[in-house]
Symmetry: C2
């Protein structure tokens, strides 16, 4: 018996020949367009199966001058430049796939204003768009937005925070709980079991809270057996002065605090205060590869920064849309970013 010969590069022409139809009809079936009799459709589908037909993406993109429009909907924050990194990743992706006919439109909203999110999501909806990358910071508002997208059959991917069961193409972002857990793990090596730990949440933006709480949860879980070691403060202002005051109070009120865990990039505010105290007495762990934080890291005021590749989140988010829309390739439902540890020794090699 002869082995089934696998035509290596059979194309539409070969399919048409075998089905005794024109290539236009084959094209209609491939793209599931209407106007083909069920019978010929079936026949052609069979042949496509048999031949294990793989469309030539080059030819496809070249022939169809159609361009694909992606929209990005992410925050701008006056608090941090965190979102610059995903934006850079988006840019990188755009540069890479522009030649394949992808255009990217960027929309921004204010993390302190749900109204701005609603406004911008409406603008996206009004535009001609084939796929969307968004940070669903406001949950309710995001859900009604994605519901509208579902109706129009437009795929969307979430980055940085997830809303499960919303039928997003995928989620790409951090595992907050485990990043907090890692912070605790590092600390456990550096301080004595009797030392106390100060946990600091610094944020003005209401939205951020569940983010920070999730990290705190992971952190606390590590010290579950000795929960009383942990002192926790919330600071709703993000300037050096406010942070200094609150942290100073906490340190004065609780003797024996040897380590401080700041649940976001605001660790620089705490570093600023610790530095003003002179002698380095505390282990300081916080988040994010930002210029300011790196300065403190170099000087030894910050000991460890935890970071989850914000730039790559943007890059991968765009590429997921591209894979799905251009190559019809399957996409992983959930991608957690690695949880990276940055120190004064390895920061220069870090890739966001």
């Amino acid at each position: 018996m002869k082995a089934k010969q696998q035509e290596p590069n059979a194309g539409v022409k070969e399919i048409a020949r075998r089905a005794k139809v024109s290539i236009a009809t084959v094209d209609r079936v491939i793209h599931n367009r209407s106007g083909v009799s069920p019978k010929t459709k079936l026949k052609i589908e069979r042949i496509i199966q048999e031949l294990n037909y793989q469309p030539n993406i080059l030819a496809r993109r070249l022939a169809s001058r159609k361009i694909l429009n992606f929209a990005i909907l992410i925050p701008v924050s006056e608090e941090t430049d965190f979102w610059e990194a995903p934006l850079a990743g988006i840019q990188q992706a755009e540069d890479e796939i522009r030649q394949f006919g992808i255009k990217i439109e960027r929309y921004f909203f204010d993390l302190n204003s749900k109204a701005s999110f609603i406004k911008q999501s409406k603008a996206v909806l009004k535009s001609k768009v084939d796929g969307i990358l968004l940070a669903p910071s406001f949950i309710e508002e995001s859900v009604s937005f994605t519901n509208a997208l579902k109706e129009k059959n437009i795929p969307y991917v979430f980055i940085n925070s997830d809303i499960p069961n919303q039928e997003s193409l995928c989620y790409i972002g951090p595992d907050l709980y485990n990043s907090g857990h890692l912070g605790a793990h590092l600390m456990s090596y550096c301080i004595d079991p009797k030392d106390k730990i100060l946990v600091v949440n610094v944020s003005r933006e209401i939205e951020n809270h569940h983010h920070l709480l999730r990290k705190e949860e992971g952190f606390r879980a590590y010290f579950a057996d000795s929960a009383k070691r942990i002192v926790k403060i919330d600071i709703q202002q993000t300037n050096d002065r406010a942070v200094e005051k609150k942290v100073a109070e906490a340190l004065a009120a609780h003797a024996g605090i040897k380590a401080i865990f700041v649940t976001n990039s605001r660790v620089s505010n705490v570093a600023h205060y610790l530095e003003s105290r002179g002698k380095k007495e505390h282990l300081l762990v916080g988040y994010d590869y930002l210029r300011e934080n790196i300065e403190y890291l170099k000087k030894g005021t910050i000991d460890f920064l935890i970071c989850q590749k914000p730039q790559e989140q943007g890059y991968r988010g765009v590429m997921a849309l591209y894979q799905h829309l251009v190559h019809a390739a399957p996409v992983d439902k959930v991608t957690f970013m690695p949880i990276d540890i940055i120190t004064k020794v390895n920061h220069a090699f870090y890739k966001n």
Copy 2:
């Protein structure tokens, strides 16, 4: 004054029209092929400049059925499965660019045999090849190989270890010195200034020595002020028994050793011994994200693993050739991989 109008997508046709020649002639100039009078050549080059002509890669790859052949020349080692990771990265790159007409041929050599390297590099030279990715483990042999490549004008990139000034397209790999330095930095947080440290080199392969020495150097530099804390042993056999014997001797001979730094993935051998001793008394730091090591990490026998993205080295190496050969894009001369810290808490999220 009218702003200079930038034709957005001017192609060969437009260039030909302006130069009053055929597109075939334009094509000749674009590819620097002979058979064009200096005068028309100059004229066409000017127009290309003016128009800021960007070739359409899709059309180019589609029209020229020519396929590009890449060759990979890397070690296989019976000692570790380290090289599986770069190989996986190479595979990933191949899957991504296959549709653009790239074929990859793989050649392997034995790290214990210069002869095998020579033999395989000759095989590469004999094959039809447009670009090469190699690990220049044997320096002299690599130099004569790349000299031959230079003559044939075939670009090559180095991964994992570099030979400077060899006109490679680029180098992609670890910064060994700083990875050792980082190991020391981590240890400095976890042990007391009076504690002693055992540094262990485990390798049978002659080639590896300068690799390990460089890491050791970085490690020692961190403790330059207290060099006497460091005890160092070399082990030339890579089985559990040999390692056990040597490490046990060292621990017996030097009281107060609290931490062990193993300069490569052989940390699993040391972990095996420590585990057999029962109670965990030593901080253990080593290298590489290998299954065996991760098991010890999970159990807490190994505390930190340092890793420099071996898979990405393979991926990026191939992509550098692709960027250079297909897109004629500039390539960074040197890319150091990030120096990652892996612990029991974040290992599940690690991407090689």
